[in-house]
Amino acid sequence: MFDQLLQFLITGITVGSTYALVGLGFAIIYNASDVVNFAQGEFVMVGAMSAVWYLGVGLPLPVVLVFSVLTTVVVGLALYKLAIEHARGASVVTTIIITIGAAIFLRGAALLVWGKDIYALPHFSSETPIRIGAATMLPQNIWVMVVTALVVYLVRHFFDKTLMGKAILGCACNRTAAHLVGINVPLMLLTSYGIAALLGAVAGLLIAPIAFTSYDAGIMLGLKGFSAAILGGMGSSMGAVAGGVLLGVLESLGAGYISSGYKDAMAFMIILLVLFFKPSGLFGRKSAERV
């Protein structure tokens, strides 16, 4: 009985970690600009698919990981420069629609460039399962959890301790005031797209050895990451992380103890309940506090 629970938790935390990374990407752009970037899931896909491509060219895995993260960051920056920046002054809703369009464009471009095949990345280390009691986990599960924790810590440090991080948060609070005190607002927004793309790419690289990747792999992960951010509270970065892990664990426990047939439905129902009783999300500040 306990072994089963342990297995469900391992699964939930691994899957939840990827939701958390995607959710964190959502939260960062939302924090900087009030925009929900629906191309976040596509960053995950671009990270994994470009890695597959670099591997196919014959580069060693460590180089591949670096290159694919850089590629995704370039895509993220290009998304801001080519699409978002031109719509400066447009309403938040318009900008969100632009990101939806960008998501569809990226998916289509990936289909053209890489085709509709499914690909796998090699595991970072061995594929021999590790036994913990009667439960098992792959070394890749540990990679997912540890790297997620590390990235989350770094992001938190960036926003709490560095000048640039604080400047980005400043843009979120009041763009005009930020501008007046000498913060380069467009640069801060550009940076937040870059970081979000980086997070997406890391999530894609971590999960692709376990779950494979294809041109349309971003849709579901984007949706789950968005749910994680909503669950945790859109304005709170750490809330999005907690929301992601929680969502993964709830899904796993739900599938394990109730029914696997309603796994996704249950996750979304929980989100609806949270929104109904606590609209700002579990860890979100009250909306009145947001300026």
Binding site: P129, L138, G256
Partner: protein
Amino acid sequence: MSSRRNFLKYSSAVLLGASMATSAMAADPIKIGSFLAVTGPASFLGDPELKTLQMYVDEINAKGGVIGRQLELIHYDSGANPQKAVGFVKRLIQRDGVDLIVGGSASGETMAVVPEVEQAGVPFISLAGALAIVEPVKKWVFKTPHTDRMALGKVYGDMKKRGISKVALISGDGGFDKSCRGQAQGLAAPYGMQIVGDESYGAKDTDMTTQLTKLRATDAQAIMNCGFGTGPAIVTKNVRQLGIDLPLYQSHGVASKKYIELAGDAANGVRLPAAALLVADKLPDNDPQKPVLVSYQRKYEAAHGAVSTFGGHAYDGLMIAVQAIERAGSTDKEKVRAEIEKTRGFIGTGGVFTMNANDHLGLTLDAFKMLEIKNGDWTLAE
């Protein structure tokens, strides 16, 4: 201006004359209509099907055609959309005036056009899987691919031989997966199988260890997975990861090299029912299907790359049609239909077809081979 008009008049007269001359030299072509999912989500079905049809129509024409007439392939891309398919079939019948139709990559589009072909009375050989296409029997409708009922029959038969009577089911949430699961449940009792677990996963899920942990807690003697795409490969990896040493069965939905590539070492020992085309070169030399399979495989691979069983279904459909026209000696629709129904012992890529008035598919369980994956390649399990 007037000189240009004269030129047009002259050239069109020449063209008209030329076309009349060719039609005088040969009789009217036999028009074979087709609608296939060449693009869209089901393009992995329609793409090899169209390539196969074009390749063999060209080959038959080069050899002088059928009953002294050339074949003409008229095809439309339905994208597996039933509404589009109905439109294209109407066009094929009314405007293009086709003699028969070979096509319909997906079951949904096939079922949608059945009323059209039945009403118009045009022989129709479908390339889709669902059992409902030919059961109950419809006068003008035939099909060449195996059904999932046959696949599950083959799986349960193999399990019985290994002394397995308790099976745990896991399936995806797509149309194919659900239909396969339905057959697995429906056939359990007739084969003396007991289903002791029944789990599902989403087509885009990234981890199925939770569901498999539940199945591990049952007293199942084997696991059967219904699905295609990434799901079955993840299930295969997760089974090994959890250290479950029960025999793992997959459906014919994973019968492609891609599955072995994705699942890697974890795929070794997995069993699945599949058309003999996948193991053409491993069949014993006395197998009657071997020459047909090897010839199709060589021809297709020389032109287009790795074969899939789906292209094979199109080969079977076209050849059954051509042989029926030859036996009928004309393209009279009723005669051709009757001759298709009289197909006896036709050796195709899907198996040996013997149809009759009550069976418009004509394949038996022998058409499926039970395969086992060993060292990253298909082997015959029997």
